[in-house]
């Protein structure tokens, strides 16, 4: 191949590498729900602050923490991070306690992994992390479709450090080509013996054995001094962690809105004359099509000629839902306003 052809091929391969980060909102720039939530750790965490970051705790733990999207100025190229700090320590760890942070990926976005075939590819996960002291934690990749997992340990520092871990290919267990959850990525930061009492095996796929999932890790809950910051999450097919792929905010927001949308503007079912007993309808289109028919939550409602109860909801689909409301009185200048969220998270 001539030098010109080699260069053309290289340029072509570089172009093909854009858009390969499978972790949505890796730079933690989008936080549609809230930028700070306190008192977490009681088992009802879920999706709390930074979009696509799922927080998983156990009801057994007495430990509590605050989750935040925090602005940062000490890591060039990044403006925000996912930030948790321990507010109630828990040094008496019951067997069933756990705490991990991570994301969940759709099977149809992972078919290029060729998992479960002889052509299966490795996966490399990289991210930046800074902690108040050195911790040893576990990064786990869990194949939900086939109940298999793989782990590696890493050690944090008090400075921003880019961690990069490559997980070997798995020729067992294909991932479903659908819109359901197929791969979970977990950063384990606290675990009781149910999840840590077994044997640690690094970088080896196997059927899930809970006792082997977080062996030998430190505990985020061992002091209220504990403070973890993370950003720049990147999940790539292959054995190399390429530089973090920065993305424009519009693209990231649109990707996040496949899973969650927070309608910050008011929607009006009816403005003007309303007749008592009459039903008034509004079909609300989503900003972007959602992964599945979402859960609808009304955040605020107000009106004239209508009660202040939530509107009725019907025809919830991936692209819209319909809200309707019966007027309770006849008013010339009647109206009903509402704001809402829709949730189609994995």
């Amino acid at each position: 191949m001539s030098k010109a052809a080699e260069l053309a091929a290289l340029i072509g391969s570089q172009t093909a590498q854009t858009g390969t980060n499978l972790w949505i909102n890796g730079a933690c720039n989008v936080s549609q729900r809230s930028t700070s939530v306190t008192g977490l750790g009681d088992g009802n965490e879920g999706y709390v602050t930074v979009d696509r970051m799922r927080e998983s705790g156990s009801t057994a733990s007495a430990g509590r923490y605050t989750s935040k999207q925090t602005a940062i100025t000490d890591l060039p190229g990044f403006a925000n991070c996912f930030h948790v700090n321990c507010t109630t320590a828990d040094t008496s760890i019951a067997a069933g306690e756990l705490l991990f942070f991570g994301t969940r990926l759709e099977g149809q976005n992972l078919q290029q992994l060729a998992k479960g075939t002889s052509s299966a590819k490795p996966i490399t996960i990289s991210w930046y992390m800074k902690t108040n002291k050195a911790f040893t934690f576990v990064l786990e990749v869990k194949d939900v479709d086939n109940t298999r997992d793989i782990q590696q340990k890493f050690t944090t520092t008090t400075d921003w450090t880019r961690h990069s871990l490559t997980f070997v290919a798995d020729t067992t267990g294909a991932l479903d080509d659908d819109n359901a959850r197929s791969l979970d990525i977990h950063i384990w930061v606290h675990a009781g013996s149910t999840y840590s009492g077994g044997t640690f095996t690094s970088n080896t796929w196997s059927s899930v054995t809970n006792a082997n999932r977080a062996v030998g890790i430190g505990s985020f809950y061992d002091s209220t001094d504990n403070d973890l910051k993370m950003t720049g999450f990147q999940v790539e097919i292959g054995e190399v962690a390429t530089p973090f792929e920065h993305e424009d905010i519009g693209t990231t927001l649109r990707k996040c809105q496949r899973y969650f949308q927070n309608n910050g503007g008011l929607r009006m079912i009816k403005g003007g004359y309303v007749a008592s007993g009459g039903n008034n309808f509004l079909t609300t289109k989503f900003t972007t099509a959602m992964r599945a028919a979402p859960t609808v939550t009304y955040v605020s409602v107000s009106g004239s000629g209508f009660s202040n109860a939530d509107p009725a909801t019907q025809a919830i689909g991936t692209e819209s839902f319909e809200a309707y409301k019966e007027a309770t009185s006849t008013v010339a200048g009647g109206y009903f306003l509402f704001t809402y969220t829709v949730d189609a998270e994995l």
Partner: protein, 57 residues
């Protein structure tokens, strides 16, 4: 996910449209889509005998 109540609700034509549930202290309207995580959790809790879905009014 702490689900304290769940009740089917009907649409304007009186066909079953979804479930109204209180989850983690918030009232939600949940479609009958198995890919919806809240509906999936409701089904799991019903199967485990932890939750009953009330009939529509």
């Amino acid at each position: 996910m702490n689900i304290t109540s769940a009740q089917y609700y009907n649409d304007i034509s009186d066909s079953q449209a979804g479930i109204k549930a209180n989850i983690d202290g918030t009232e939600m309207s949940i479609p009958l889509d198995p890919a919806n995580r809240h509906y999936a959790e409701i089904l799991r809790q019903v199967a485990a005998g932890e939750l009953t879905i009330a009939d529509a009014d």
